[in-house]
Structure formats: C-alpha cells, structure tokens
C-alpha cells in the first residue's frame, strides 16, 4: 500500500472536481435541447471501479444521487462482461433510476487492463417515447404509458456501435435532437475519461486507490462533524401532496421521523402514505436524492460530494409508499415530490436547528407545450422553465432568494432566455416579472415569486401541467407568514377562462390562447413587524411589497 500524502490528497480532490466540471461544460456547449443547454437539467459524475461516487457536478441535484446506485447496479448486472470502449444507457426507474426522462450514459474506464472508474452523464431528455410528447403523462397508471424503459443496455460494445440497439431505442423517441443529445452526453464521458487516465498515468493506480479511500474518510469526518452539531433526538415532520392526476381533491402525506444520534442521522419514512394509482409516485432514488439535497442545505456547503458524504446518512423508505413505488407503477412526477419531502424535513428540524433551516420553499408548478412551429415547419417540445420560479424560504438572518425555483434544483436550473424562447417556440412572451406581495412576510421574508404571461403561437398545441403548490402555500416559521399560492389560468381566444388541474393534459389548444401563471413566494421567517425598515421602504418603492401590506402585515408606521 502506498502511503497517503495529505498534499497529494488535495490534488486528487481538486482534480476530480475539475473533471466533472469540464464534463458539464462539454454537455452545455454541445447539446441541442434547451432543457439541457439553457436550463442545465443534467448532471455529470465520476465513480470508482465499484461505483462509489468520487465527485459530481450537480446542476440539478435531484438527478445526481441516483447515479452511484445505478452504477453499482450496472456493475452487478454485467459482471465480467464490462470492457474498454463500452457505453451503457440507462433510465429504468425499477433498477434505481430516478425518472424515465432522465437518461444516463455510463462509460467504464480502464487502466492497464483494470476497471478503475466510471464516468457518467445523466440529462433530462426532451422526449423518451411513451404516450405523451415530453414524458409528463398525468393519465398514466403504469410505466409503459410513460416512457420507453431502458434497463442497462450497451450501445457501444468494445468501441463498436451496436447499430441495431441504437436504432431500436431512437425508433421509439419522437424528436431527433434526443439522439444528438445522447451523443453530446457520450462526448462528455469521453472527456472525463481522458482526464482521469492522464491522472492515473501520472500517479499510478495504487496511489489513486489509496487516496480515494482517504478522501472518502476525510469527507465522512466533515459530514459527521456537521451532523454532530444537530442536538441528539427524534424529530417528526410532515409534507403534503395534492392530487394524484386521477382523483380530484386527493391528498397525500409524507411523514418523516428523523433520528439524530451523535454523528449519524437516520430518515425513516415508514409512516408515509401508500403509493397512488397515478404518476404521483417517487422512486427510491428520487426520494433519497430529495432527502440528501435537503440535508445539504443545512450543512457546510464546502463538503466535497463523494461516497464519504453520504455514509453517515441512513434513509428508510419502504416499497409501496408514495416515495418508493412498486413495479410497475407510473412515477414521472416523482422528482417533484421533492418539495413536500423537503418541507417535512425542514419542519422536523426547525426546533433543533432554528438557525440553519429555512421556511418553506415554493413548490414547483410547471407546464409543457408541444406541437408544430408552423412558421418554421418544425416540431418543438418546451418545458416552460420561465414561469415556474418562485421564492425560497427565509432563514434567520437572510431573506429567501427571489425567483430561484424549486428546492430540487436550488437555483441550478435556469429559465430560458426570452429571445431564445421565442426562437425555439412559436409563442410570444408578454410578461415575466416579480409579483408584488407574493413573498411570505417575515423579519426575513421569503423569496419573491413571479408572474408570467405568454400567448400560444400555433394551433393544436399539446398542453401539460405538472406540479403542486396551488392548494397550500410555502409555510412560514417562527411568526413568519405563509406565501401566496401557485396558479395557472388559460384564456382561450373566445374569452373563456379555464384553470387546469395541477397535473393535467390538454390537446388542441388553439393559437392566441393566453397563458397566465403565478409562481408563489417563499415562506417568511420571524415576526414581520421586526423587519428592517430601510429594506421595507425600498421594497415599497420598488413595487415588491404594497403599502397596504407594509402597514397591515409589517406594521409600518404603527
């Protein structure tokens, strides 16, 4: 065993991070779908020969923490049959995938004939087959109505393209850009491979293996030290999910019991409601990712992201619950159960660490349009990232972040550029601004929500909603107030107004229909009457808080 050198250890840690960052830039610059290159709805990662996480670049964290479990699954699945030059696709939610549309490429990396590492890139594809373009099918009750299932499959075998397999996959996908986007993802795994091999050539495999273990160890210690700062105890919290896509008025509860003992933390979701009959179901990895990313909001943000970070965390989610659906349930909405899961955790830990949790974040309510851009004669699918960004919750000493969007991404996913949105779709954007009085009031207010209006630009548009937050607001804490609600209303050319359900699918929406969305703010923290008066005055001047609200809720002039 080579000796672990504390200095070389830092060199490894930095280089791993540089590798996954470089992979991320490569995808961003070469992909075609705006979901990938504008919104950055993808992650890149580096894993050791056993599939343990070495480092990740997590533009969208909810995707990230299922990469390592799938890597381990792939290693088991192929056993001896893993070779230099292989490239493996995967999206299957019943073999540790998090969402059907999140399709990953894995590339095994060999050094002197030995499997030493993997690079992986997972991105949200604009389409992956199934009944509805774009993948969000609120009518689905089983996985086949949602997407093409891709259990681990080699598309390259020892460096040779399996043309038949490739064509089988893409024959089942609506948009040709997806094929090119998977090529862009493969390109990034090659870039990661080149860099890691250069590192191994320099220091040797033995040094790499030893330092890797030391890095896990050092990271685990950091995480344990953070957990130790949470007082020992058992904490309980709830989060709520509204509507399963089939039964109007249906409600579901996430129940988490958190046990903190010295330097370990356990999240037990055993009491959570049963799975639904619709697509409002989590997978184990999407739900566990939600747990981890919420915990990461409460600890030192500088902790490296590798296997050592997750070691002190135990997560129990029984199969058959809302957060871990059993085969063959539909699950596409699963990523978006992250916000209520985060609510449950924040509420549970609020009494224990009031200075580190935030009030409630705005829950995602999003929509998607698909159809023909008649002027360009081109099909398009657009996830409307522009409308969905509400505020984050306030915390002790800091206001919530305005227009940040769902906690699953925490500001890692971007809205489309306005002009690019109008180039990529036939729609015309009329309004996208901060919305007054949307933030939950507080000494530290919630982040501000947004109002968005656009006009649909071609006939026969397919329109899908997926989300929540239109029944209950983001919660306030410690006398801080709740935020406003999410809403979407469509006004048809004949003047009729219609409110879609928060999971809905319409077809044939005509040109000229006006889409109007509010994304709510974040919850407030602390007594609004104690809010800094100078800030409040500026917010009135800037039209972010009304004079009435300032008087009545914040007690200005009282």
């Amino acid at each position: 065993m080579s000796k672990v050198d504390p200095i070389l250890l830092s060199v490894y840690a930095r280089t791993f991070k540089a590798i996954t960052d470089e992979m991320s830039i490569s995808v961003e610059k070469t992909a075609r779908s705006p979901i990938l290159c504008e919104a950055k709805d993808f992650v890149t990662g580096l894993y050791d020969g056993e599939g343990n996480m070495l480092e990740q670049t997590e533009n969208l964290p909810i995707l990230a923490f299922s990469l390592a479990p799938v890597c381990k699954y792939i290693i088991d699945y192929f056993g001896d049959d893993i070779h230099e030059g292989d490239a493996i696709f995967h999206n299957d939610v019943f073999s540790m995938g998090n969402q059907n549309n999140d399709v990953a490429v894995y590339k095994p990396i060999f050094h002197e004939g030995e499997l030493v590492a993997w690079t992986a890139v997972k991105g949200h594809q604009a389409d992956i087959g199934g009944a509805v373009a774009g993948g969000y099918n609120p009518n689905a009750t089983e996985v086949w109505q949602e997407a093409l299932r891709i259990p681990p499959v080699k598309v390259y075998d020892k460096g040779v393209l399996r043309k038949d397999v490739w064509e089988l996959i893409f024959a089942n996908v609506r948009l040709d850009i997806v094929e090119h986007d998977m090529r862009a993802q493969m390109g990034a795994t090659v870039i990661g491979e080149r860099r890691l091999i250069a590192l191994l050539d320099k220091y040797g495999v033995e040094s790499y293996q030893d330092h890797k273990l030391a890095l896990f160890d050092s990271t685990r210690k950091m995480m344990e030290a953070e957990i130790e700062k949470i007082p020992n105890g058992t904490y309980y919290g709830e989060g709520y999910v509204y509507y399963d896509g089939h039964h109007l008025g249906s409600e579901f509860t996430i129940r988490v019991t958190i046990e903190v003992k010295d330097n370990h933390i356990k999240f037990d979701y055993s009491e959570t409601d049963d799975q639904t009959n619709g697509f409002v179901n989590g997978t184990f990895t999407s739900s566990a990712s939600a747990t981890i990313l919420t915990l990461l909001q409460m600890v030192n943000p500088d902790i490296p992201h590798n296997e050592g970070m997750v070691e002190p965390i135990a997560i129990i989610i029984p199969e058959g619950t809302l957060l871990n659906a059993s085969y063959p349930k539909a699950t596409t909405f699963g990523n978006h159960i992250c916000p209520p899961n985060a609510d449950a955790i924040m509420k549970a830990l609020a009494p224990a660490i009031p200075d580190r949790i935030t009030a409630g974040w705005n829950h995602l309510l999003c929509s998607l349009t698909a159809g023909m851009d008649d002027e360009k004669g081109d099909r398009y699918v657009d996830i409307f990232f522009l409308g969905q960004k509400g505020g984050s919750g306030g915390m002790q000493g800091t206001d919530g972040y305005d227009h940040i969007g769902m906690i699953d991404a925490s500001g890692g996913v971007l809205t489309q550029d306005y002009e690019m949105f109008e180039q990529q779709t036939p729609h015309v954007l009329n309004l996208h601004e901060y919305a007054i009085d949307t933030a939950g009031a507080g000494q530290w207010r919630g982040g501000i929500g947004t109002e968005t209006i656009y006009t649909i630009g071609s006939d026969d548009t397919q329109f899908v909603t997926f989300g929540d937050g239109d029944f209950i607001p983001a919660f306030g804490l410690f006398e801080g107030q709740d935020s406003t609600l999410n809403s979407i209303v469509l006004t048809f050319p004949d003047g009729t107004e219609k409110t879609p359900n928060n999971k809905d699918l319409w077809t044939g929406v005509p040109k000229g229909t006006v889409y109007h969305q509010f994304a709510g703010g974040g919850g407030g923290y602390g007594d609004p009457k104690k809010r800094d008066r100078e800030k409040l005055t500026a917010e009135i001047r800037d039209g972010l808080i009304s004079e009435d609200a300032a008087k009545e809720i914040y007690g200005l002039g009282a």
Binding site: E22, E28, T30
Partner: protein
Amino acid sequence: MKIGIDVGGTFTDFFLVKDGEAPLIHKTLSTPEDLSIAVLEGMKDLAGMMEPAMSPENFAKELDTIVHGTTVTTNATLTRRGAKSALLTTKGLRDALEMRRGIREEQYNNRYTNVVPLAERYLRTGVGGRLDRNGKELEPLSKQDILDAIELYKKEGVEAISICFMNAFANPEHEQAAAEIVRQELPDAYLTVSTELLPSIRFYERVSTTALNTYVGPILSHYLGQLKNRLKDIGFGGILLIMQSNGGVMSPEIAERKPAQTLLSGPAGGPGAGLIYAQAHDQNKCLTVDMGGTSFEASMAVDSPIMVNDGEIDRHRIALPMLGIHTIGAGGGSVGWIDKGGLLRMGPESAGANPGPVCYQKGGVKPATTDANLVLGYLNPGFFAGGKIELNINAARAAIEEHIAKPLNLSIEKAAAGMYRIACNNMAQGVREITIKRGFDPREFPMIVAGGAGPIHSCLICNELEIPFQIVPRESSILCAVGMLMGDLKHDFVRTFVSPLKTVDWDKLRGVFDEMSAEGASMLSEEGIDPANQEFYLKFDCRYLKQYHEVSFVMPNDIVEKRDADAVAKAFHAEHNRLYGYSLDELDVAIEIINVRVQAIGQTDKPVFQEIERVAEDPSAALKGERSVYLPETQEFAEVPIYDGHKLQYGHKVLGPAMIEEVTTAIFVSDSFDCIVDQLGSFVLYRKGREDLVEGTLKGAVA
C-alpha cells in the same frame, strides 16, 4: 518616445521605450482618490530618470504616445460605485436584469444572496411597443411611456440610461426612436442603446452588457477628463490611447462610448506582451501567467491572444469579445488553512498588501504563500523588494507551525512545502482552465512568467503540466504595461444573421460584412489611422442545426467573393472537434450560422526591442553566494547558488537548482530546469536535457 501605463489597485506601472535606448521600468504607489495623480507623479519620476534628466515639460513634449490601462471601471463595478442608472425596456420584462435567469451560483448555500442590480427596480421602466422574433412590429412604441419615465428620472437625478428592447437584434428601430427622445429630453444623461453596443440575440446577455456599459460610462468619462487635463497641463500633445478588454487599444473618445470595453483593461496587456518574448524564440504561441499579491491570471495566445465572446464581472454577464484571461484567487498573499476534513487549502482569502503575510510583520497572523516561500528559502529576507521590506522568517515559521504543521502533524518545512505545492497546484488548475478545457495541450506552449511572485512557482507549475519551457522577461513585474505598447487599435462588431449555411444568401452576408467593415473603417479613421493600415477580419458563429451554443472561427475575407459554403463547413467541423472531442462531419448534419462578426484593426507603430550584447556562458561573475533552498523534486533542502539577476547577460547559463534575485522578483530554477539568458535579457528556463528548445540562443556562444 512611448509609455505604457498600467494603473492597478496597489501600484501604477510604467514602461518607457525610446528608439535606440534601453527601456525604462518604473513603479509608483497608486492614488485611489484620484488615479490620475499617480500617473502624473510617475511621469515626473521618469523624466528625472532619463539620461540626462529632463524637466517634466520637456519630457511631455518628447512623448509621442501614451497607452493607458485602467481598472477604474472594474473597481467601480466591484465596489458598486457606478452611476445612478435607469433602464428603458420592453413592458413586462424589466426584471430580467436582476433575475439573471434565476441562477444561484452556490446551490446549497442559503446565506448566498443575489447581486445588487445595476439599475434599481423603480428605475427600470417597461415601455409599450413590441417586435416579434423576426423584428416585425406587433405593437407600436409608446412615446408617452418614455416621456413619463423621463419625468421620474429627472426627479430622481438619474445620471445614465440604458435602452434595451425585446427582439431589437432583429430590428433596432424602436430602440433608435426611444434614444432620440432621451437625447432630446435628457441631453446630459449618459446613454447606451443595446443594439449600438451589441446587436446580437440573447436578451439577458444584451441587457446585462448594456446596463454595465451605462453603469461605468460616467465614471470613465470623468476619469478620462481628469487625466486629459493633467496631461494638457504639463504640455503633452501626443496621442493618448486606452487599453481594451480585447487586447486592442482605442481613443479616449470611443472609450467613452463603449466603456464596458475597458472592464478588463488592466490585465489585457499581458497576453500580447507574452507573445513578444515567445517570438524571440521563433514561437508564435505561448501561455502567459501573472501572479500578483491576491490573484493569478492565466491566458493563452496562438498567433494572437485567444479571445472569448462573453464572460462575467462580479456575477454580471458581459457579452463583448474580450481576451480569455482566467483569474483565480491565488497570489503571494493567499492564506493557508485546514478544512474540516483535515485537508490543506490555500486561498482564496488573501492577506493582500495590508496586513500582508505574517513575515511582513504588519499585523498578519495567518500564514500566506509568501511565508511558505520564505521558509523554503525562495525569498531572501534581506533583499525583498531590493531590501525595502524586511521579512521576519521566525514569525513566518511560528505561524506555519501553529496553523498548518501541528494540525497535520508535519514538520514546519514539510508544511511549508505543502502550502507551496497546493498553491502551485491551484495555479496549474488555472492554466488547465485556459488550455485543456479549450482543447489545447499546455505542453506545446512556452510559458511566459510574470508578476513579482510568479517565477518562484513556475517550475512546479510546469512540472505539474509537463511544460518544458518557460521565459521570465526582465520586465516580468510590469508585463501588462509592456503589452500596452504592443496593442493595435481594435474594434469588434457583431450582427445576428440566422441562416442555414447551405442556403445562405451570400449577397446579404456580403452586405453585413461590408456594413460592419465600413463602421470599423470610420472609427479607425476617426482615430487617425490611414486606410493602408486598416485590416478587417471576418468571423462566423455557427452550430449544428438545433444546437444551442455556437462555435466561433475566423474565415478569410475572400470567402464572401468565393461563396464557398463547404469551406466554412469544413472549418466549423474542425473547430467543433477540437473543442468537444467530436464532430458530425460524416453524419451530414445541417449547420446554421447565428452571428457574423468583423474585427477591425488599425496597425500602430510598435517599439523595437534592443538586442543586448552576447557574453560567455560562465555566470560566476554574477554569483552572490549560496543558500539552503527547498527542492520540490527531491523534497529536500539543499545549498544552491544565488545569482544577481542584474549582472546576468545574454548568453549566461545558470544550471538548476539555483536562485536568481532581482529587485522586483526572484526566480527559482528548480532541479528539473537549466536557464540561459536570451537576446532580450529574458531568463529562459528549459527542462534539463531539452537544449533543443533553446538551440537558437545556445548557438554562436562566445568563448
């Protein structure tokens, strides 16, 4: 006679060249209250340094050209001291500037707050009027909305106004009509019209760039006014030029119109200067690294310095072509610390110049890179800054022991060596950012080393990256000022021109090229450049159909005559492959043009460097003594010879390991390198056994 002047936060650097004489170098402390004071003081100092000494007035009279780099706009942005700014934009879209597309750069940090916008919300006004994506009018411009806004701006004392409308890249008419009204109603306000500054697609990029331009405009105008007055007072009648972020220079009048072009003015001289020293070795490419007190800048040149089409300043997007200079928080003042997992880290926190590293004994308590350098023997405690600052090695050792050695259970020397190595690794990562990440192999480039602290670390950086060849110019401590005299007048133009490459309308393309060239020609003529010295370069931004980001590449101008789309496609495939590891050449995927760019260049007279006289190889006349110095290759201390850099001349050969000391810098020649002084007086370090790299310099040695 010409001077390059680089006004930095701490020092103002001067580089003077006069035909037939050795260049003069000078450094003076900057005067933050009015930066033009230090410029004048330094010039008076220089007058006194001439042989024979001159009066400031005579000096000013003999001066033909001053090229000036300034951080005045950079600092105004970083310290939020720009103009009170307003924004006229399309109704319903006034928050784009502040929303920044909803990014929070630190995803897991709930204490991380958004940047303060460059125009406050109540001064951002949505105006009626709308164009569609093709530039066709959907709704006429509301003049009344503009007049109402102007009333408010007058009342609020707004100094500067931006105009940026949705889809204006496709049709600037609404912006021009709005500008007309503003010019009439508020003639004294500084005005930026987005399509005059940046007529290209992407609303956020354009509004952010426009707002930055507006924000720093009045500050730059004020500063240039002061400077011009002071120069006039001493009788300067020559040409004053301002360094731009793109490595070129421009007249003060154009700088006042495009102040956002000066946001990188300070470090922009470095890459071009680096190239000159590389050219002395028949190399037309190089990496340039510049390590100062708090930051480390890395850049690259191939034939000319590498450009990027956009970047960021203080988290504000700026989409103007600029040199691809990568800055990281690593300098002599970078502080060492142990993170919670027990890993040693260096920076980005810096002790700066005040309190400075512990060894300065000005109150610093945390060990910095400079402290480690002192413990490792790279710095001479009695000869730092030529003896002006005395360094206390015991204080440095004590701080390293307490903060690094004890927690890691290492000896003080090992801990210092670790700090040195991590600092070098950070800088090597910075070099990777500009090379490997852009598809270049750093081993193929000579590395030009600048900045006071650079040449102590460059050997280890080169070992990390396997770079065999480095050059430390005599002027390394003021390299950017040198570069300022090497810049041509340079203006960049861009037009969004969306079209499939195969079916491109060549007449229209030619029209756009001619239009931008004419605009460039008129600017250059305004700056007094004869048409014979004007050049125009054509660039395409292309992508595969439905890709989102473009790849930029240069094409010969005659492509608009030859109408050769295949040649453009070929160049695009090659560049895409180089950058991203693949191209879709064989799949026959359609290519589309997004932007067409023109760079207009006006050639300036460059100073000619004097070659110095050749001497024999033996450097013993310059030997000062010996000192114990840490050798990273063997991880041990050894006695190495110390040379007086000022006595080393063309042809002298120093075998590593060795130290070379100059007043403003120290050069560490590690165990892996040997050094020879070249015809420009630069110290050229080449990997042992690689004499082939300096064949030209070695040839014709004097016996």
